[in-house]
């Protein structure tokens, strides 16, 4: 093999080795960081283990929001109008958080069956329903009238 060919080959091998290490690490990181998405119905059916990091999408049930007077703690119920999940969160809620509004929560279920949310997400546009929430509602066939996704920004 000629010298320059050998060099070219070794460079290609170097690049390939680097790439495969990177791909391996990437897939590992990926497998460690997937948050699965569940609907309240799936949670009620016991598909989720306590402590597992997940996301739940649903609507904030009307009349369910109770916020503590002396701290940032808030309790509410996420629902797909078939099943409910009680949610506990400590922190400031997003601007568009309100009853009857679609939200996504991130966190895990505790042993008492209360979802400890580390993050609560709501959309900026009040008529907009996130695809995840819509999927959750569609799954149980209870999407309220006029809640279809609409052009937003």
């Amino acid at each position: 093999m000629k010298a320059h060919r050998r060099k070219r080959l070794s460079v290609i091998l170097f690049v390939a080795a680097g790439l495969s290490v990177a791909v391996g690490l990437t897939l590992y990181a990926l497998s460690q960081n997937i948050d699965l998405f569940y609907t309240p119905t799936q949670v009620a059916q016991g598909e989720v283990n306590a402590g597992q990091r997940i996301r739940i999408g649903g609507m904030v049930r009307e009349g369910s929001v109770q916020s503590a007077a002396d701290s940032l703690a808030v309790r509410f119920v996420a629902t797909d109008y078939a099943n409910d999940v009680p949610i506990y969160h400590e922190g400031i809620l997003p601007d568009l958080f309100r009853e009857g509004q679609g939200i996504v929560v991130e966190g895990s279920l505790d042993n008492a069956g209360v979802f400890q949310a580390s993050r609560v997400l709501a959309k900026h546009d009040e008529n907009y329903m996130s695809p995840e929430v819509k999927a959750a509602l569609d799954a149980v066939g209870t999407a309220p009238e006029g809640a279809a996704t609409r052009p937003g920004t």
Binding site: A29, Q32, D35, L36, L72, D95, T149, P151, G152, T153
Partner: protein, 666 residues
């Protein structure tokens, strides 16, 4: 009437771009000078008619023409004038028009600043861009015409611009980002023109470089503006969230960074030709991917536009045709390019190759993490999300590795650098940066953190290596000043951009490791301490703006017994749309930001709020400004202009000889 004129201008622009996409390329192929010469006038025509279209839309906004559906959805009579004007890009249809207009602007500048290039090459470049803009305008007319009317009953008032967008960030960020994004289409067109003509030489790389540098610089500013805007508007205290829509610009930026380095090798050493072309295609694909992701409604994010399947399919079509077509052309033509391979493992070429591999791998892993949830959903029907931990796990170590080479690269030489030379050069640099990294955190922050130390070592490594390189270059000159003057603009551009990396690295690291935040409930008169600062809620009151009402709290901040600043965070309710919005109060500083977001009122004037102290956070955007300035400086290098003059002289001399030849027989 005016909106109809806008629509009509779009149709005319479509017709002209159809001609632009066909005639000049065919002319270049069949050597037809008339068709070739059509490229510039047609480009100007497309630009003018798109300009008319976007002006018509702006006019509809300014005159509150709510019979236009897009205006009715994104404006309101109460909206302040500056937002009425910029609401043009406040939604999908208008922002796509802006995107297309930006491309026409780039095309016009290619037409104007390409006098030094062969006519048939310019014709091919503009022709490729013509095909692209034809696809964009067709998409607009077919699925998202911003001039569609509401018939028969237009609303009396508009739904108002999304309250989160009513901000200076919205005026600046989208146009800049689009401009940077679209700029890579130009570099892409250069690459495709080179593939079409089979002309892949140093001259091609030299023509492409200024365009790639400018597009990269603008994109850098665009991304930084987005980060800055998100930081103070969204109020979660972060500056980068790995949001699925932030990722495509980042992917494009990483490919673009690889591209401007690879172009250097292609220009100086005639190597990496096919790799450079591939990077140009990839950077462009990244920009199209960004459009696709935001406009197809596939993802949930703060940026996502509406989900309309027909748009998604159309963009997917544009994506498939342009990326597939260019990769096919690449596969057919790349084997014809002969590259030499004469360099050693310690050469600058090799270090730039390492830079490219790391950048491309980072871009690819971000791409994977962004698209994986979509693919997963398509295959299994389950919804998943990939959070920031994934991206940080991959991206941070890769960047750390890259920064090691950012230090070595500039000190190395083309073809071959001896190990002993490199070791001698880098020894002192390493010693000095270890010193800074170990001592600085202890003295200034009186804290020790392994991660902060590593990043500080890397940042000083980059800066000291650059300093060493400059002193090497100046050492042989008679005086330092003369030496500094003799260095080229593109060299200074590189220096600035690399120092920008170090500045950004310091900002990112210190903010990430030493930020403090605290969520509290404060009654009037109550205080809370965070870091060395004492925040006191003085009170709150009602406020009223042009199109919103709300509450404002007043907080005093005391540091070392002295009143430092008074902060006024707000919560607003936009009347027309009924959307609430939080306005942060920030006391910005070179070394730290103080930052308050207001939560909700909990009776008797007590408010929930989150307080932040963020050291060095401004340095992140300062670093980006350095990089962008460096990129622009490099594009202004004499050597690109000198060639232009030389070329002009050549053509001038050519015509003179011709006249002489004509005169002689007479």
């Amino acid at each position: 009437m005016i909106p109809e004129l806008g629509s009509f201008s779009l149709i005319l622009a479509l017709c002209l771009s159809a001609l632009l996409g066909s005639l000049p390329i065919a002319g270049a192929h069949y050597n037809n000078p008339v068709w070739i010469s059509m490229a510039r006038p047609l480009t100007a025509g497309v630009f003018v008619f798109l300009g008319l279209a976007i002006s018509a839309l702006a006019y509809a906004f300014i005159t509150d023409d709510f019979s236009v559906s897009f205006v009715a959805q994104h404006s309101n009579t109460l909206l302040p004038m500056r937002y009425k004007f910029t609401a043009v890009w406040g939604g999908h249809e208008g922002s796509f028009l802006l995107w297309t207009f930006m491309l026409a602007g780039w095309m016009l500048s290619v037409g104007v600043f390409s006098k030094s290039m062969p006519e048939e090459f310019v014709a091919r470049v503009l022709g490729v861009l013509g095909i692209l803009i034809f696809g964009y305008i067709l998409f607009m007319l077919a699925t998202s015409n911003p001039f569609d009317r509401i018939v028969p009953l237009p609303p009396a008032d508009g739904a108002d611009l999304n309250s989160a967008l009513q901000d200076i960030g919205f005026i600046l960020h989208p146009p800049t980002l689009y401009m940077g994004y679209v700029g890579f289409s130009v570099v892409f067109a250069f690459a495709i023109a080179a593939l079409l003509s089979g002309r892949m030489d140093a001259a091609w790389a030299r023509w492409s470089r200024p365009w790639a540098n400018v597009a990269w610089a603008v994109l850098t500013v665009g991304i930084a503006l987005g980060s800055w805007w998100a930081y103070y508007e969204l109020g979660w205290g972060g500056w980068w969230a790995w949001d699925p829509v932030e990722n495509p610009p980042m992917i494009t930026w990483l490919f673009g960074t690889a591209l401007i380095h690879s172009l250097a090798v292609t220009e100086k050493r005639g190597m990496f030709k096919s790799w450079t072309v591939l990077l140009a295609i990839l950077a462009f694909s990244g920009s199209l991917l960004g459009t696709f992701i935001t406009r197809s409604g596939l993802l949930t994010s703060v940026h996502a536009f509406a989900s309309d399947p027909s748009r998604g399919f159309f963009i997917l079509g544009i994506l498939g045709i342009s990326i597939g077509g260019s990769l096919l052309l690449f596969a057919l033509r790349a084997p014809l390019m002969k590259g030499s391979f004469g360099f050693e493992y310690t050469s600058r070429e090799f270090f730039l190759l390492v830079n490219n591999v790391i950048l491309v791998v980072s871009a690819a892993s971000i791409f994977l993490g962004t698209l994986f949830p979509m693919v997963y959903q398509a295959v299994t029907d389950d919804l998943i999300s990939i959070g920031p931990p994934y991206f940080n796990t991959i991206f941070v170590p890769l960047m750390m590795l890259l920064f090691v080479f950012v230090g070595i690269g500039p000190l190395s030489r083309w073809k071959q650098t001896s190990w002993t030379y490199l070791a001698a050069q880098l020894g002192k640099v390493l010693f000095a940066s270890l010193l800074v990294g170990l001592i600085f955190p202890l003295i200034v922050l009186s804290k020790f953190s392994v991660a902060a130390t590593i990043t500080l070592i890397l940042a000083s490594w980059i800066v000291f290596a650059i300093g060493k390189d400059i002193s090497n270059k100046v050492a042989n000159k008679r005086s330092t000043l003369r030496g500094l003057k003799s260095l080229s603009l593109s060299y200074y551009g590189m220096v600035l951009a690399h120092i920008g990396i170090a500045v950004m690295l310091i900002g990112a690291a210190l903010t990430s490791f030493f930020s403090q935040e605290r969520s509290v409930l404060l009654s009037p008169g109550e205080s809370v301490e965070l870091g060395s600062y004492l925040f006191t809620l003085e009170g709150s009151g009602r406020i009223e703006g042009p199109n919103y009402i709300g509450d404002e709290a007043e907080l005093t901040v005391v540091n070392d017994g002295e009143l430092l600043t008074v902060l006024h965070p707000q919560r607003r309710l936009y009347v027309a749309s009924g959307t609430p919005s939080t306005e942060m109060a920030i006391d910005a500083g070179f070394f730290r930001d103080l930052f308050v977001t207001l939560g909700e009122e909990k009776g008797a004037g007590a408010w929930s709020m989150t307080l932040y102290v963020k050291p060095f956070v401004r340095w992140i955007w300062l670093g980006a400004i350095f990089m962008a300035f460096g990129g622009t400086l490099a594009a202004g290098d004499k050597r690109y202009r000198r060639l232009r003059i030389k070329a002009a002289e050549n053509s001038g001399r050519g015509s003179r000889t011709q006249t002489a030849a004509e005169l002689q027989p007479a």
